[in-house]
């Protein structure tokens, strides 16, 4: 017996409707030409190609989509949206899916999210990006000690990695407050920040 997608059981029309509402796109206009996949620079690390994600959204396969690795690996380059013959903002849908997955606490590729948080933590702390800080935090979080250590000395030598963070002249408090309010609100709304 093959591993059939049991549509009678798995189809979740509300999921499709939710994706459409949040992304502002009409996924039924996708006719599966595959142009998005043809031009996708991230396809090589996807578990489901972007056109297959679109198909799964059409079919209402919530778990299949929100648990996929692909929505985390999307580079947001928008090549898919640009070339879609049906004017679908495919990259926008990918971003919507990632937001939906995150809010439900589904994080299939934790290292990507860890990188983002490492980046955002420095922004919260200093108001501006602190590249070495991002790298250090990321190494700690991901236990990937050797990430880009080959590049760091070169970048340091060229003066391209500031050792000291750039803090906002008046202090980073106004930016930190944005993050605090964001977190508080997410908590209030019962979603993962």
């Amino acid at each position: 017996m093959n591993d059939a997608i049991n549509l009678s059981r798995m189809r979740d029309a509300a999921f499709t409707a939710e994706v459409e509402a949040l992304s502002g796109q009409n996924v039924s206009t996708c006719y599966q030409c595959g142009n998005c996949t043809a031009g996708c620079p991230a396809g090589l690390v996807y578990d489901r190609q972007v056109s297959q994600i679109m198909r799964a959204v059409q079919l209402g396969l919530r778990d299949e989509v929100l648990n996929s690795r692909s929505i985390w690996m999307c580079l947001s380059c928008s090549t898919c949206s640009l070339r879609c013959p049906n004017n679908i903002d495919v990259a926008g849908i990918m971003e919507t899916l990632r937001h939906m997955a995150r809010k439900e606490g589904r994080v299939t590729v934790p290292k990507v999210e860890k990188f983002w948080f490492s980046f955002l933590d420095t922004v919260r702390a200093f108001g501006r990006t602190y590249e070495i800080g991002t790298m250090a935090l990321y190494m700690m979080r991901s236990m990937r000690v050797f990430t880009d250590v080959d590049l760091a000395p070169e970048a340091l030598k060229k003066g391209k990695l500031g050792l000291k963070p750039h803090v906002l002249p008046q202090g980073a408090a106004p930016v930190s407050r944005i993050f605090e309010r964001y977190k508080e609100r997410a908590k209030r709304e019962g979603v993962r920040p």
Binding site: V45, P174, I178
Partner: protein, 306 residues
């Protein structure tokens, strides 16, 4: 002429040379870039990847400052900052969205924000190509260059307003005005792998490798970019790309402002050329030789005439 300016965080770090050359070229063109005070990070990819409203709030704080300064126009060199600021500005037209974003800020934001544009477009709007050509001290004639815009600069077209989203040509016009021969570079808006160089090195290496490979096949002297992340991926990570593609690329990757600065005869130190991973020395030597030869040829022609 003064312009409100949003440098973006990488200007203080990994793209110091972009910042230096931008300042130098703009100064040479009498464009005075004035930082908006107390600006903060736009949130870059991580913020919008995590949450649209968080990303917008970080951007709107800057737009709000620019509005308070009564700036008529805000310039930024970085396409990622540009894209975030522009998208945030557009999304704020939706009252429901605006309310959600304002909730994250210290107070309600300004009703209208000044338009944001790239430094490249800012230069092109202020000066026509003849004026730029007239500023050239050392023509780039004889150099074959590929203009590489990356994926963010031109799309979405209706937001970025940067010409044909598949085939923007502004950089070509500016560098052609400086004398360079610009090749048709079909991957000019392909993605370099963006910020995934850290969490997913192979993906970035492959995409950057593809771009470097085509540029090498086309026999260009350098790839010219306008984005800090593209520059980092193509230059600082060139060896990673080489390894992934099983080859050894050796292509200088310069910011368009660095290349223009060279043509304007500006001090190479001021342009941060020493900060490039792949040395531009060969390129500079070639250019110097080209100019020496053409000067000699001019002289010979003059001698023949008299």
């Amino acid at each position: 002429m003064n312009f409100a300016y949003y440098p973006g965080c990488s200007a203080r770090g990994s793209s110091k040379d972009y910042e230096m050359s931008t300042q130098a070229v703009c100064k040479a063109l009498d464009m005075n870039l004035v930082d908006i005070p107390d600006w903060n990070c736009c949130g870059s990819t991580p913020a919008h990847a995590v949450d649209t409203e968080l990303s917008a709030a970080l951007c709107v704080r800057n737009l709000d400052i620019a509005a308070q300064q009564q700036a008529e126009l805000l310039l930024t060199p970085c396409p990622s900052c540009l894209s975030n600021l522009k998208l945030a500005s557009k999304r704020m037209e939706d009252p429901a969205f605006r309310q959600r974003v304002d909730e994250l800020l210290d107070g309600p934001s300004a009703k209208a924000f000044p338009p944001v544009t790239s430094v490249m477009q800012g230069i092109a709007e202020a000066y026509d190509m003849e004026t730029i050509a007239a500023r050239v001290r050392k023509s780039l004639k004889g150099l074959r260059l590929a203009a590489y815009y990356g994926c963010l600069m031109s799309r979405p077209a209706e937001v970025m307003n940067f010409g044909d989203p598949e085939n923007p040509t502004l950089m070509e016009s500016m560098l052609a005005a400086c004398g360079a021969e610009m090749v048709d570079f079909p991957l000019k808006t392909a993605c370099c792998g963006a910020s995934f160089g850290i969490p997913e090195r192979v993906m970035t290496a492959r995409n950057s490798g593809r771009i470097l490979d085509l540029a090498t096949q086309l026999g260009v002297d350098a790839v010219i970019v306008a984005c800090p992340l593209c520059q980092m991926n193509l230059d600082l990570r060139q060896e990673q790309a080489s390894k992934e593609m099983g080859t050894a690329f050796r292509l200088p990757v310069l910011y368009f402002t660095q290349m223009m600065g060279i043509a304007f005869g500006l001090d190479h130190k001021e342009l941060g050329l020493n900060k490039l991973r792949v040395s531009p020395d060969g390129l500079i030597r070639k250019l110097d030789e080209l100019r020496r030869n053409s000067a000699a040829a001019d002289k010979a022609a003059e001698g023949g005439r008299s």
